[in-house]
């Protein structure tokens, strides 16, 4: 991951790097007089560097729970919810496979998806405009706190899973949102705000 230094972050001394041994002044086995369990003495605190992009799994993903036809619809809807823009979207982030695995292990979601997907046999034959119009009507119903009926309930479920899957992926969290934490700082920097 590249680290873009904007003003504030330049102040941070990031002393962690991949596989770097941090300069903490103790070895693990004499720490605190601890008796057991014992870590080999040469091993001191290892802190990971910035998160690494997992090796991409190329090619078409095979669903484990959904039928291929349903999975194609799920894939298309997740793509409409978080599309590729300047940055990759839900499909590139592996969200459809995530949804497949979560729904596969959750009876309540299985019911919502079964009911929601049943009338969507022709969804992929619709134009993009028509698809978006369908999602918009469901999304509006959800937005009014009115997720009643199979459509809006299904939309809410697949949107939640798409958001969860995308923003916990490397692409969503690190590339899209620019998550920069989980590193070693030698001090926490002072912050300022503009006075009013």
């Amino acid at each position: 991951m590249s680290i873009e230094n904007e003003g504030r972050r330049e102040a941070l001394k990031i002393i962690g790097a991949i596989g770097t041994t941090c300069a903490f002044p103790f070895s693990a086995n004499d720490l605190y007089g601890q008796v057991a369990p014992v870590t080999p003495p040469q091993q001191v605190h290892q802190h990971p560097g910035p998160p690494q992009r997992p090796i991409a799994v190329p090619g078409k993903v095979k669903p484990g729970y959904f039928s291929q036809a349903d999975f194609d619809v799920v894939t298309r809807i997740s793509d409409l919810i978080i599309p590729a823009t300047g940055t990759p979207g839900a499909v590139e982030a592996g969200v459809p496979a995530y949804i497949d695995s979560v729904v596969g292990g959750n009876k309540q979601l299985q019911e919502i998806f079964r009911t929601g997907l049943a009338p969507l046999g022709g969804f992929l034959a619709l134009t993009e405009e028509q698809q978006i119009a369908m999602l918009t009507s469901w999304s509006n119903a959800v937005g009014k706190g009115n997720a009643k009926g199979a459509g809006p309930q299904f939309f809410q479920a697949i949107k939640n899973l798409t958001a969860d899957g995308y923003y916990t992926s490397y692409i969503g969290l690190v590339e899209e949102l620019k998550y920069t934490g989980n590193t070693v700082l030698d001090h926490f920097p002072e912050s300022t705000i503009p006075e009013h």
Binding site: E4, E6, R8, R9, L12, C22, F24, P25, F26, D30, L31, Y32, G33, Q34, V35, P37, T39, H45, H47, P48, P51, P54, L80, I82, P83, T85, Y98, S101, I132, L135, S139, V142, K159, N160, A163, D164, G165, Y166, Y167, T168, S169, Y170, L173, E176, L177, K178, Y179, T180, G181, N182, V184, L185, D186, F188, P189, E190, S191, T192, I193, H196
Partner: protein, 520 residues
């Protein structure tokens, strides 16, 4: 059953039990601590630095593969919940100990701030607590390491809060901001509650128990799930019976005295399981108050986005989670309820983006709106004080046995009108503070949920209305003690662990003294 008779058997090795057994060992007392979970090497056992995308279901397990530890309520690890706490450390004040004297509700503690102050001092010196000297009457200062600077979002909240007359201070935590002995200072990786793997954050195993092993006076018996405290016909406790977690064999420990310190609800449940001819409804329950007076904190929350940070670059400000705090202020103002609330905020790790579900719409606009709001997300989490009421209690669910065949501890919570008034007011204040700071409000929780379990074996001077006395000793039994959140007669709104540790230090001193005088 082992034939050795220990001076003290402590059940539970968390912040209370861990502090207590270490202090006893340092005082030369022969002590064994019995813990239901396995030993946990804090440097290697936790998934401290893991990212969600390393796991297919995006859920980061607490323990690394093959490492035994935190899986269920009764199987924890040596160090208990102190391994995973957020380390917020307040001293309670006179108001917190003497609520009934002030407003006539609930119960007073039989001790006051002045009784506890020396033990707060001692704990702070021992474990290292960072904080600012704020000079607040209601939140007494202590012996502090330097505080950590506030985050930009904290400063924005502070500026807003001050506009409407609400003070924001630095948080105080049992986390090192300077190295101390073998423990390094915090390095602000933001994983405090995933298990600090350098012990910059206090945990009872690394900071209290392991050093105390050097005395030769402390024995840690792990993987021993205590199912009963034994009592003799002469009305003295004689030790404990346990189930070995690994072999499932029955085991036991004999001791001249027993201290139950296995976390509020579990301590109450253990006493309730320890039925005998003398105590048919649970050990030390002649008052009938065991399990009653359950007063966990209740919390709500306001999720918001600070306008000043929307669309700004994402920065690394995870720090050690929350860096600031809003101490109670309503206790000094006109209001239509008793007691008060304090407000924690900003302790969400930036890896958690669950709020993205709640933003409206979908598509490109939705994706952009999440990205814009990502650096601006803050949660205000007020914590309110519950007054004891008959509808809130702990009992055993005999029908619902755990994997060891032991009945589950069941919590029942009813909110009184006073509790709900606090809840509504603290939610409104959270919204008001957010708005004063220039925020878009995402959500306001509409019902309270509990955290920080307290009460159930309350301390008091009247044996008819309480379970333990001011020394944490059971009124009914000369050599049985209970030391943890369960003995709190009133909850305060302040995070309780620091007070539990000070109580443990105080009880250890008292118990060592009694043993020395051969009273036990």
């Amino acid at each position: 059953m082992a034939s050795k008779v220990y001076d003290v058997c402590v059940v539970g090795s968390g912040a209370s039990g861990g502090t207590l057994c270490a202090h006893l060992a340092q005082a030369g007392v022969d002590v064994i601590v019995v813990e239901g979970g396995p030993p946990v090497n804090t440097r290697t056992a936790f998934n401290t630095h893991a990212m969600p995308f390393e796991f297919p279901n995006r859920h980061i397990p607490t323990m690394k593969p093959g490492k035994d530890g935190f899986t269920s309520e009764r199987s924890r690890g040596v160090g208990g919940k102190s391994l995973l706490w957020n380390a917020v450390a307040w001293r309670q004040s006179h108001r917190d100990f003497k609520g009934r004297s002030i407003d006539g509700l609930g119960e007073d503690w039989p001790i006051d701030y002045k009784d506890m102050a020396p033990y707060y001092d001692r704990i702070e010196r021992e474990v290292g607590v960072c904080g600012n000297l704020d000079g607040l009457e209601d939140l007494p200062d202590g012996i502090f390491l330097p505080p950590v600077p506030m985050k930009k979002s904290d400063l924005l909240i502070k500026r807003g809060a001050e506009k409407i007359g609400v003070k924001v201070i630095h948080v105080r935590k049992s986390t090192l901001t300077r190295p101390r002995g073998p423990r390094p200072a915090c390095h602000y990786c933001g994983n405090c509650m995933a298990g600090c793997d350098v012990a910059a954050k206090y945990n009872s195993a690394d900071v209290h128990m392991h050093p105390a092993l050097k005395t030769g006076k402390l024995e840690i018996r792990s993987n021993a799930i205590v199912r009963e405290v034994m009592v003799s016909n002469e009305n003295r406790v004689t030790g404990v019976k346990y189930i070995d977690r690994l072999t499932r064999q029955e085991g036991g420990v004999l001791a001249r005295s027993v201290v139950v310190s296995c976390a509020c609800v579990q301590s109450v449940a253990l006493l309730q399981m320890s039925k005998s001819r003398l105590y048919p409804t649970g050990l030390a329950n002649s008052s009938g108050h065991l399990g009653k007076d359950f007063i966990p904190h209740f919390t709500g929350g306001v999720e918001l986005f600070l306008h000043d940070l929307m669309g700004k670059p994402s920065v690394n400000d995870e720090g050690f989670l929350d860096h600031a705090y809003i101490p109670s202020f309503m206790h000094k103002r006109k209001r239509d309820y008793a007691r008060s609330f304090g407000m924690q905020f900003n302790y969400q790790n930036r890896r958690s983006v669950g709020w993205a579900r709640a933003l409206p719409g979908f598509g490109k606009a939705y994706k952009e709106s999440v990205k814009d709001r990502y650096p601006a997300y803050v949660v205000l989490s007020p914590y309110g004080e519950m007054i004891p009421n008959a509808g809130s209690f702990v009992d055993l669910d005999e029908k619902n046995k755990d994997e060891w065949g032991l009945p589950s501890a069941r919590r029942t919570v009813a909110y009184s009108e006073n509790d709900m008034k606090i809840f509504r007011d603290m939610s409104q204040w959270a919204r008001r503070i957010g708005e004063a700071a220039g925020a878009e409000i995402l959500s306001v929780s509409d019902e309270p949920h509990t955290n920080h379990e307290l009460g159930g074996a309350r301390m008091g001077s009247d044996p008819k209305r309480s379970v333990v006395n001011s020394d944490c000793r059971a009124h009914d039994i000369q050599n049985l003690y209970v030391v943890d959140g369960s003995v709190f007669p009133s909850a305060s709104e302040k995070n309780p662990t620091h007070t539990m540790m000070a109580l443990a230090a105080r009880t250890a001193e008292h118990l060592a003294d009694r043993l020395k005088r051969r009273e036990i």
